[in-house]
Amino acid sequence: MAETTIQGTEVKKADPLFGKAERKLLADPLNDNNPITVQVLGICSALAVTTLVYPSVVMSVAVVFVCAFANLFTSLLRNSIPKQIRMIVQLVIIATLVTVVELVLKAFNYTVYKQLSVFIGLIITNCIVMGRLEAFAMANKPWRSFLDGIGNGLGYGAILIVVALIREIFGKGTLFAGSPIEMKLIGANNESASYLINTAAESGIGTWFSWYANNNLMVLPAAAMFIIGILIWIQRSWNPKLVDIS
């Protein structure tokens, strides 16, 4: 449907490190060709892990890593991969990288590993990664493929973090919960709201709008669906390039 913009860029003789085409590879997936809001791929994990910002950030980093290096390795091997088993080879590359992420998280950030649980493993089946390997890395040079991977990972991550910000603030009243810089932003500190508007200074505990009661819808995956829908709406009305596509 929409993934053709990038393939159109012709490859020059001597590729500059950060030429126009390279910048486009990085910037395109952030807006015009966003994997979530335009291509509508990778929705499953976007709905599931976005209750809190911190795990979403970790998830985004993991996807950027997997996407970039899977693209790089596939592109390096692209001329030696036998055509008949190319999908299997791509899957092996992705699965290896995901296992690396899983082992590293298990060793260095066990709490987040527990929080993301099965979703790290599910990066293997994330359509974004596989889609980029088939559509881009199999036909392009390593450096460009690497950039394309980073771009798409970032495009996915950006949406993830925006959704998580909205969901965490309105669903839990906190920001970056679970990380070292956890803070309580809105709502009362204990779960019974006081129904009095006071400021952070007044209450002395550092939260605003202590009358705010957490919206339970926001912690359910359905809320992410609505938020992503609204984001798509906003993006389309603001970016004229996208209007003709669908």
């Binding site: 991969i81 036998p82 008949q84 298990k106 260095f108 066990y110 912690v219």
Partner: protein
């Protein structure tokens, strides 16, 4: 057609390279991952006696958790008759390490009741000691589990002094409140496990439960199934430890013995 031999060689070379690399990484991170898991389990146990600690378990660093556990917590594994099981037997049952903290409750839950192993932790503090038992049951969507701190005494026989729960897949904001909402956990404090006649009643989690001050806890509104699951889990799970509790109390309080034997 590309030559079949090439495809086979390519696959072999690639898979063995990948396998070697991953195996290497696994061994490099194994110790660290094991350590993390142990700390995670220890935190879960300490959470049950959080009110007896200087600060919340979440605020503690890993080293603090380890040293506190080392200093104040003893552990052993019991069988269903309340007898202590040695580490070799525990290891033979499939729990690597053989300590109470290594016991995988999910594995135990699948065994027939008579063969189960029960982890027991004893938390010692200035004014006495508290038994921490592990329980596991079913919530709405999947399994729930927890650690329950129980004080054994001659007056009430057994009183819950703290509880901490966790879950696999309960609904965030509703069933997941058993873990996330400290006020739900706090409700279990000072609930008695036995009625005045010395019969085991456990802690009841039901609608309007809070009216029964000695044994009842209210359900979480909107999460009745999960809450009732917690009650059910406590009823069964704590009962498994009854033979051990009876022994303990019999040994320390001679005057209780007659009553306990009658009950058995």
């Amino acid at each position: 057609m590309e030559n079949t031999r090439y495809i086979i060689i390519f696959t072999l070379v690639m898979t063995s390279a990948v396998a070697l690399m991953l195996a290497g990484l696994f061994y490099a991170t194994e110790t660290k991952a094991k350590q993390n898991e142990a700390i995670f389990n220890k935190r879960a146990v300490l959470k049950a006696v959080e009110t007896y600690l200087d600060k919340s378990v979440d605020d503690m660093g890993d080293d603090e958790v380890l040293s506190l556990f080392e200093k104040q917590v003893q552990q052993k594994v019991l069988n269903m008759n309340g007898e202590e099981v040695d580490a070799a037997a525990v290891e033979a049952a499939g729990h690597k390490g053989g300590m109470a903290e290594n016991i995988d409750m999910a594995k135990e839950k699948k065994k027939p009741e008579a063969d189960r192993l029960l982890p027991l932790f004893t938390f010692n503090y200035e004014n006495g000691s508290i038994q921490i038992v592990s329980v596991r049951g079913n919530g709405l969507w999947d399994e729930i589990w927890g650690n329950i701190a129980i004080e054994l005494n001659s007056k009430t026989k057994g009183t819950v002094v703290g509880a901490a729960f966790d879950h696999k897949a309960e609904t965030p904001g509703l069933g997941a409140e058993i873990k996330d909402n400290p006020s739900f956990r706090a409700k279990f404090k000072n609930k008695r496990l036995y009625n005045d006649d010395g019969e085991y009643v456990s802690v009841k989690v039901e609608k309007g439960g809070a009216k029964d001050e000695a044994h009842g806890v209210d359900v979480i509104s909107g999460a009745t199934v999960t809450s009732v699951g917690v009650g059910e889990m406590l009823y069964r799970g704590i009962k498994y430890y009854e033979p051990y509790f009876n022994q303990e109390m019999g040994a320390s309080k001679g005057d209780m013995q007659g009553m306990l034997i009658k009950e058995n």
